[in-house]
């Protein structure tokens, strides 16, 4: 009976004791308790770090984030120029946008108070609306373990370095299916890569197709604007991967390997034809002549053939492929692979004239008269000279000639010690080929290792194969023995001097540091130049040159409207994908010229 429950009355009385206590109230707004270090408040975006990839907008299930252009931020390669704008009338502060941000520029702050009578105020440009938010960043993705993105690339199976040097077998083995799926899943599909790609391939699309298991679709998308995907899949310089959003803080998506994976699904030309099955327009009666069966020429040939043109390609050598055939070692791009692609082109209707050198076997004039348009894709056939004493000695090679000879199947005796001068991809190729020929190889490069223009992957592979890289050495003299054979290479050590104009540091020889390297062969891989001797004099005022390159307009057209040009002979990048891009540009130019603007629009 609670009437006698004395405890029931007295115990509650103790509550009155609280009156004497100091209240634990936080007297906001007069006194503030800072939010926790992880508090998920308003957004902040480090505008300079942001690359506008739009992943935040994509992950947001509330569609709270818009990508909008911002004044003062110019789009460039690897930066879409757009920046996220948050609609705080949608946001739920889950922080997924932060966790998915590949650069880590987006974060949440400890600020959270935002009160306004006007609902329109709640559109908010993080980083621009709150430039002071940088010090208040709280929820960040600086620990990659907690980022939703996978930053590690799927490991590419390769031959063991010890095995590699024994033969010209292909080093890279290609992804297995599950590997490719996993790697393709990593892609965030932002499309920044497409801008860096000279050819603007549809990269996110074909990678997504792989991720979804639609390999055929993937190949079809790839063939949409690249007729040599397998070549690119193996040897592309992949500037796309440099700007990959994931590359900011991790390893980029292996775009090249994925393309390679997709192309390898088709085992031969028939299968490619079956899968890609491009619509071939009926013949339109126009004819186009192409000089040089390099990537640029092949591109022109393929896409014009698809559009109903009669295309004939003139090639000096016995095989198509140009530099990809003769300049790239077979352990990177096997012969069969190239043959498969050329075979497919023939099936589509491209005609080849091999062993037909323009200017010798057939004159340029004849071609010019015969065809409605001419495309010059001759590339760079001559090598730059070292310009040092004794370079005409026996055993001094230029890299492209060396590689060409090797690729033609010749087994060249390089002796037991080879010095390769240069730091580009060609130098690496020459070094690795020399290794395969059984020599000890030293690469001599003027600058530091981080300045080398070659791919870091290639450098690593070369080193794994036992190529020694000597840096900051400038060759000064080739020392020959009595028979005129190379005995040694003399070089000076160089120190790096910062360029006062802000360019990259220049190597300056150190007085008296001459050293000799004993060697049996010296290979110079320092650059190439073109040979335009086939072009008669009368065209020279129409086909203008600038430092060895043909000048063309935005359609790949020279001043003679009938003559188009592309490839290494035109661009200074000198890689396969740029050549393809030039070719594709010229295709459009030729279509425009011969069929008119209208035809350009209907694909």
């Amino acid at each position: 009976m609670s009437w006698f429950n004395i405890k029931g009355i007295t115990n509650p009385l103790t509550a009155l004791g609280q009156v004497a206590k100091k209240p634990h109230t936080i007297r906001f707004p007069y006194e503030e308790k800072p939010a926790a270090e992880r508090y998920r408040g308003l957004h902040y975006n480090d505008i300079d770090y942001c690359i506008g990839c739009g992943n935040c907008a994509e992950i947001c299930m509330n569609k709270a984030i818009d990508m909008v252009p911002v004044e003062g931020i110019e789009p460039k390669k690897g930066d879409s120029g757009l920046r996220p704008r948050i609609d705080n009338g949608r946001c739920c502060w889950c922080g997924l946008c932060v966790d998915v941000c590949p650069t880590g520029s987006l974060s949440l702050t400890r600020e959270y108070i935002f009160v306004s009578p006007n609902p329109e105020d709640f559109l908010w440009m993080p980083g621009i609306s709150n430039p002071d938010g940088k010090d208040k960043r709280s929820w960040r993705s600086n620990d990659l373990n907690f980022s939703i993105n996978t930053y590690e690339r799927e490991k590419m199976p390769m031959l063991d370095p010890k095995e590699r040097v024994k033969s010209f077998a292909e080093v890279v083995l290609g992804y297995e299916e599950d590997q490719a799926r996993r790697e393709a899943q990593r892609c965030l599909s932002c499309g920044l890569c497409t801008e860096a790609c000279p050819e603007h391939m549809h990269i996110p699309e074909y990678i997504n197709a792989i991720a979804w298991g639609a390999d055929d679709d993937s190949l079809r998308i790839i063939y949409d604007n690249n007729p040599l995907p397998e070549t690119c899949g193996k040897v592309c310089t992949r500037r796309c991967e440099e700007v990959c959003a994931l590359a900011k803080r991790g390893e980029p998506v292996a775009i090249r390997w994925l393309k390679r994976y997709a192309t390898e699904r088709a085992l031969n030309a028939d299968e490619i034809k079956e899968i890609v099955n491009p619509p071939i327009a009926p013949k339109n009666g126009k004819t186009v002549g192409v000089i040089g069966a390099g990537p640029a020429g092949l591109t022109v040939g393929y896409y014009l053939a698809l559009r109903g043109f009669d295309v004939e390609i003139y090639e000096r050598n016995s095989r198509a492929g140009g530099m990809t055939m003769y300049g790239i070692p077979k352990y990177r791009l096997p012969l069969e692979s190239l043959d498969k692609q050329i075979e497919y082109m023939k099936k589509v209707g491209v005609k080849f004239h091999f062993n037909t050198e323009v200017g010798k076997d057939i004159s340029f004039d004849e071609i010019y008269q015969k065809y409605d348009a001419v495309f010059i894709g001759v590339g760079l056939q001559d090598a730059w000279k070292l310009g040092i004493e004794g370079e005409d000695a026996d055993g001094v090679w230029s890299a492209i000639h060396f590689l060409r000879r090797v690729n033609e199947g010749e087994r060249i005796d390089v002796g037991n010690r080879v010095v390769v001068v240069g730091g580009g991809n060609t130098a690496i190729d020459a070094s690795r080929v020399s290794r395969r020929l059984g020599a000890e190889v030293i690469m001599l490069y003027r600058r530091r290792k981080q300045d080398m223009p070659a791919d870091w992957e290639e450098i690593e592979d070369a080193e794994a194969e036992g190529v020694q890289i000597w840096t900051q050495g400038i060759p000064v003299k080739v020392i020959t023995d009595e028979q005129g054979k190379v005995k040694a290479l003399r070089y000076v050590k160089a120190e790096m001097v910062p360029d006062p104009r802000g360019g990259r540091p220049r190597p300056v020889p150190i007085e008296g540091s001459e050293t000799d390297i004993e060697c049996t062969t010296v290979i110079a891989a320092i650059g190439q130049s073109a040979d335009y001797s086939f072009l008669p004099e009368k065209y020279h005022d129409k086909v203008k040159m600038n430092r060895g390159r043909i000048i063309v307009n935005e359609w790949g057209q020279t001043d003679d409207p009938k003559i188009f040009a592309g490839g290494d002979a035109v661009n200074r990048v000198a890689d396969a994908i740029s050549a393809i891009a030039d070719g594709y540009r010229a295709v459009k130019g030729i279509v425009r010229l011969l069929l008119g603007e209208e035809a350009l629009k209907q694909k």
């Binding site: 209240p23 634990h24 109230t25 936080i26 007297r27 906001f28 707004p29 503030e32 308790k33 308003l42 299930m61 509330n62 569609k63 709270a64 609609d87 705080n88 009338g89 949608r90 946001c91 739920c92 502060w93 959270y112 108070i113 935002f114 009160v115 306004s116 009578p117 006007n118 609902p119 709640f122």
Partner: protein
């Protein structure tokens, strides 16, 4: 003497007094319309103690001054909210909590919640957050107090003047409109 106490002047002084009382005595209607209601108890209890500002709960719309729309409003609740709002006595204020009242928030694609609160009832202050934490709620109240002091929290007048427009919007989503007239 007459001049000093002309109507306008005395009205002004009266307004200042009135607004001072109004801003310092905000009774909130105890209606938890959505998620944000869970942060109301912390706001009005000991740790944040909104009663310092004269904010306290009122049990019925007749006694309340502020209607808190604490987040999303389902269409079914909207009907009740409109009734509650219209029962409240002028001047009355509405605070929209969080994203959902501004532009749909998390439930932007839900078939059962409204997306823009100010299409259906006038809103005086929006508070950012999903849900706004007690500090933010208090900041919202402080802002509301400022607006009242300046005589700018006039949503209730706007509502009366544009009743037609509001009715139209309300009736668009509330399909079965069985409601008493305004101020019943």
């Amino acid at each position: 003497m007459n001049r000093a106490f002309n109507d306008r002047e005395s009205q002004k002084i009266l307004d200042i007094i009135k607004n001072f009382a109004r801003k310092n005595s905000l009774f909130i209607l105890a209606y938890g319309t959505g998620c944000g209601a869970i942060e109301i108890p912390p706001t009005i209890t000991s740790r944040y103690d909104a009663e310092r500002f004269g904010i306290r709960g009122a049990a019925t719309p007749r006694q309340a001054d502020v209607l808190l729309i604490t987040g999303y409003l389902s269409v079914k609740t909207l009907k009740r909210v409109i009734r509650a709002y219209e029962q409240m006595q002028d001047p009355k204020y509405v605070m929209g909590f969080g994203s959902c009242t501004i532009n749909g928030g998390m439930y932007w694609d839900s078939y059962n919640t409204i997306k823009q609160l100010d299409k259906y009832i006038p809103v005086d202050v929006y508070i950012n957050g999903c849900m706004p934490r007690p500090e933010a709620v208090i900041a919202g109240f402080v802002k509301l107090q400022q607006l009242i002091q300046q005589g700018k929290a006039l949503g209730w007048k706007h509502y009366k003047e544009n009743l037609e427009w509001y009715r139209q919007n309300q009736q668009k989503v509330i399909k079965n409109w069985r409601m008493p007239d305004y101020n019943w």
